[in-house]
Amino acid sequence: MNTTQRKHHCVIGWRAPVLGGVCLVALISFGWTWALAQPPEAESAPAPTNSVAVKAKVPEAKKPLLKRQITGAELYSINCNRCHQERYPTERTGAQWKTIMLHMQARANIPAKQAKLILQYLQENSGR
């Protein structure tokens, strides 16, 4: 590696990650600030998605989200949508959802109590 290449490498070496980190932090900060600045929604129903979970289990209206226990349907929508498109509860049987939730509890490392609420919701709305 000659001097020019080493110098080029050094410049890229500190500039790129710092620039990227700044952009990432700025983006996250903007999103967080903007989201918090929004007024609370009149109803705590989840935003529209392709999930029948949201359509099937609309939380009770006129109750602030923080004032009550979050439901299995909401946890399902929040957690599953982080990594993939939501699957319809009717796609699997109750026994299959039990297996899948054990798998996802380990894979996504979500709390056991939340996993149980999600499983309860999925089994109540499962295909069989």
Binding site: I12, G20, G31, S77, N79, N81, C83, H84, K98, H103
Partner: protein
């Protein structure tokens, strides 16, 4: 005298008899019947005669009705007999069938079944066109995940990756002097399939806050290795920086999560020990670093770690859904791993990863990782680093009420890699996803590369992905 008396007696007797007969016989009717009375009597007789004829006709009709009723009753009785015979035959057949066939099993409540086996996974077909090369259908990938649940808290899971490729990357020919030489750009006849074990691990949920895992683990260095399936990753190929850290390792892990309040927030942790990276040739040369080749069983069937000490690692993460804002959440994590890598145990390999993901509603997502590794070598300390940030926006958020547009997501990614061995690469990727269904999607991307490695070039990627 006597004769006189006798005659007198006969005379008296006759007189008494005549008186008696006169008293007993009715007096003679002497009244005469008038014409009017006779005519009235005649009319009465005629009326009675007509009524008698009417009754006779009515009786004849009633007799006909009765005859028809009798016929209907006879037919109904015949049909009833046939129906009773049919019912009897059917009942006999049911009894015979019940005697010859087993009683059907009652369906069970599947949710209570304590053992269950199922297959999840994904499959992809990819087309690639690299600048300056022929385009080709690059990949036929089938990646099943087998899940076996043995109870409420024990799960075995294994993921495989099966891909098809040409018979060999290079072919051989015999030259004029009889020597066998390699001929780049050709290949042996036929094709071969690679079958790789991506992970195979046993998960035991010990309690609500602790899960034990052992086997070939997906390592939590960042989150990408756990979310890299073809239909999960929104761009067909992996970020460059992901290659700086191992995706899996053989060892054991403890993990758990603690909820923060009732809003869905939580903190999670993972602590693990694995064999760690190794040297491909046993030396400490920097280009001999092998991130995935130390599985505890050598090619000569010797069971041993390739170096003296295993590696240890951990990740700490936090997931924060925004208050009052469903589908708005932030996930941040920090992770690292360190351990020996060369056979002599003279050099350490260490890595640190920062990961973050942000969702602003169901339509917008951005995520990224910063990866840094340091390892000692016979040539000195090697510093590697890379990072990537990826953003996607689903056009359904524009609420255009257009079916095709509503199924499209636009994606973009920037990633960078400095391998510490003289190669630096920056890559800009723009693309789209078309969701045919929620698990079947078409991905298309164009990648602009700027690299000190002249073999790297821009490329087009098209992929059909299915998650199941």
């Amino acid at each position: 005298m006597k004769t006189t008396t006798k005659a007198r007696c006969w005379t008296l007797g006759l007189a008494v008899a005549g008186c008696a007969m006169g008293m007993s016989l009715p007096p003679r009717a002497v009244a005469e019947v008038s014409d009017a009375d006779f005519n009235a009597l005649k009319e009465t007789v005629q009326k009675l005669s007509e009524e008698l004829h009417g009754l006779e006709r009515t009786n004849a009709v009633a007799a006909q009705v009765h005859q028809r009723d009798q016929e209907q009753i006879r037919q109904l009785q015949q049909k009833l007999a046939e129906t009773q015979q049919l019912a009897t035959n059917t009942e006999q057949r049911i009894v015979e069938a019940a005697q010859t066939q087993p009683i059907p099993r009652q369906p069970i409540d599947e949710a209570t079944v304590n053992h269950n086996f199922m297959i999840l996974g994904d499959a992809e077909v990819q087309y690639a066109k690299t600048s300056g090369q022929h385009g080709a259908f690059l990949l036929a990938d089938f990646a099943p995940i087998f899940l076996y649940r043995a109870g409420d808290n024990i799960l075995f899971e294994a993921g495989f990756d099966t891909t098809l490729q040409n018979g060999s990357s290079e072919g051989t020919t015999t030259n004029a002097s009889g020597q066998t030489v390699m001929t780049p750009g050709t290949h042996d006849s036929g094709a071969s399939a690679s079958f790789d074990l991506s992970f195979a691990q046993l998960d035991y949920v010990m309690n609500d806050y602790l899960t034990f895992m052992a086997g070939d683990l997906l390592l939590p260095l960042g989150t990408y290795s756990e979310r890299s399936a073809g239909w999960l990753n929104e761009i067909p190929d992996d970020p460059l920086a992901v290659g700086l850290v191992p995706g899996a390792g053989v060892g054991a892990q403890l993990q758990g999560a603690v909820p923060l309040g009732d809003s869905g927030s939580f903190v999670n942790y993972q602590v693990y020990g694995v064999n760690g990276p190794s040297s491909s040739n046993g030396t400490g040369n920097p280009d001999a670093l092998d991130l995935g080749g130390n599985v505890g069983l050598r090619s000569d069937n010797t069971v041993a770690n390739l170096h003296g000490q295993p590696s240890g690692g951990a990740r700490l993460g936090v997931f924060l859904p925004f208050p009052y804002k469903p589908h708005y959440d932030l996930e941040v994590g920090i992770s690292g791993q360190s351990g020996e890598w060369d056979d002599a145990g003279n050099h350490l390999w260490s890595a640190g990863v920062l990961d973050a993901a942000l969702h602003l509603g169901p339509y917008f997502e951005t995520k990224g990782e910063y990866v840094m590794t340091r390892f000692g070598s016979d040539s000195g300390q090697i510093h590697q680093q890379g990072w990537w940030v990826q953003t996607g926006y689903k056009l359904a958020g524009l609420d255009l009420e257009m079916p095709v547009v509503n199924n499209v997501e636009l994606v973009g990614r920037y990633d960078s890699l400095h391998d510490g061995l003289g190669t630096s690469t920056q890559r800009y990727t723009l693309g789209f996803i078309y969701y045919i269904t929620n698990t079947l999607l078409v991905e298309g991307d164009y990648e602009f590369l700027h690299s000190t490695d002249p073999s790297q070039a821009n490329q087009l990627l098209l992929q059909l992905s299915l998650g199941f």
